[in-house]
């Protein structure tokens, strides 16, 4: 540690940075997010479904055709979204009490594609416009002051068979006067379908098989190395051991050993 690399003309060494990992209190399971066609309904009506867990009671807001605003106020930067008021079903709220696995109720939020312009639902303009925004806001007492809310920005896609699909374009978190963009890192995936996380080896550095891995290779975002092996890779060839892509930088994240098996998000 403390061995921050610098990039300069004479050195092939790739930069290494340390960033903390923030723990998210709300997790929407990415693989659970889907649109289900409602049978028997006239036209193209879909129900938005997902599975979700939260440490506190929370309110989920779903907004359509949302314009994004960020206030630049120094002490209280915020991120909010506006939905055109004339849009039917354009903004919708749902309350959840804290719990491990919630299923967002089927048909609680429906999308009737006859009522929207397909283009409005499939285009995304970063920092400006998003077709669907899900905001998860913690409610009640005992919420850590620093933690506020999380936004998921989604778009729709339509395949050649005319089926709609949903994609997460971006995730943001408001935390302690900052807006963080959430990035996924790869390397803590479940090893099997039993619901358990893999054995020790998913947490271990793939080079020394000894230390806990804590360094993410960019741009491929594979987490596979420990600190000391990162030094060796940087000296040697600076390629990601997993995919062999040339590394641009290495980012060390602080991973709570006990939490290493939880979904780990990297914020920058």
């Amino acid at each position: 540690m403390g061995n921050r690399g610098t990039t300069n003309a004479n050195s092939k060494r790739v930069q290494q940075e340390d960033v903390p990992v923030l723990k998210s209190h709300n997790n929407l399971r990415r693989d659970s997010l889907c649109l289900k066609k409602i049978r028997g309904s006239p036209g193209d009506v879909y129900s938005l479904n997902f599975v979700f867990s939260c440490t506190f009671d929370c309110i989920i807001t779903i907004q359509l055709c949302a314009s994004e605003f960020r206030s630049a106020e120094k002490d209280a930067p915020t991120l909010y979204f506006y939905t055109p008021p004339e849009l039917e079903n354009g903004s919708f709220q749902y309350k959840f009490s804290k719990g491990a696995i919630h299923e967002f109720p089927e048909k609680a939020f429906t999308l009737d594609f006859n009522k929207y312009d397909l283009e409005d639902m499939t285009t995304y303009k970063e920092d400006e416009y998003c077709p669907i925004v899900i905001t998860i806001e913690n409610q009640g007492r005992n919420i850590p002051q620093v933690y506020r809310h999380k936004c998921l920005m989604l778009i729709l896609t339509k395949n050649s068979r005319g089926e709609y699909n949903i994609l997460i374009k971006k995730q943001c978190l408001l935390f302690d006067k900052n807006i963080f963009k959430i990035e996924d890192i790869y390397g803590f995936e479940k090893q099997d379908d039993t619901g358990d996380f893999g054995d020790e080896s998913t947490k271990e550095c793939i080079i020394c098989y000894t230390n806990t891995k804590n360094t993410v290779v960019y741009p491929c975002r594979h987490i596979c190395l420990c600190n000391s092996c990162t030094q060796v890779v940087r000296m040697q060839n600076s390629k990601c051991p997993i995919c062999r892509l040339e590394a641009e930088k290495f980012i060390t994240v602080e991973i709570d050993k006990q939490d290493a098996e939880e979904e780990v998000n990297l914020y920058s």
Binding site: I206, I207, C208, Y209, T210, C224, V233, P241, I242, R244
Partner: protein, 148 residues
């Protein structure tokens, strides 16, 4: 001192062996493995048992293991000195790979020779121009040298 990685890899090779491959560490040197690979079915090497030596350099796993065939074999990617031409033993090595991956790749090299990147031009030439004669020769060598 044996590194935790080499220790774990060695243990796994014995608890969870690869079908058709026997790798045993040398009694005096944990970086040296005595390897035996049985010739895959449906190849001219079928029935043969091919001996090889595998060495883990000090820099392993940052550099690939070194592997040498000790049994004579008629194969376009293995030369008279037992050297093997295999991408993951050279430029395509990654420290994410293991001894296991190397041995499995060598085994599949016996089934699927790479004629575009031969180590022994003459052998490769025969496999290209007269595959039947080449296979017959490979079969004969297997009988003569890999039949213990």
């Amino acid at each position: 001192m044996i590194t935790p990685r080499i220790k774990k890899e060695t243990e796994r090779l014995s608890t969870d062996p690869i079908v058709g491959i026997y790798a045993t560490p040398d009694e005096t040197n944990f970086r040296h493995f005595h390897v035996q690979i049985s010739g895959p079915a449906d190849t001219p090497y079928n029935g043969g048992l091919f001996k090889a030596e595998l060495f883990l350099p000090d820099e392993y796993p940052m550099v690939p293991p070194k592997v040498l065939f000790r049994t004579k074999i008629f194969h376009p990617n293995i030369d008279k000195l037992g050297r093997i031409c295999l991408d993951i033993l050279k430029k395509n090595w990654s420290p994410a790979l293991q001894i296991r991956a190397v041995l499995v790749s060598i085994q599949s090299l016996l089934s699927d020779a790479n004629l575009d990147d031969p180590l022994d031009e003459e052998v490769a030439e025969l496999f290209k121009t007269d595959p039947e004669a080449a296979e017959e020769k490979a079969r004969q060598w297997t009988l003569d040298y890999a039949n213990e």
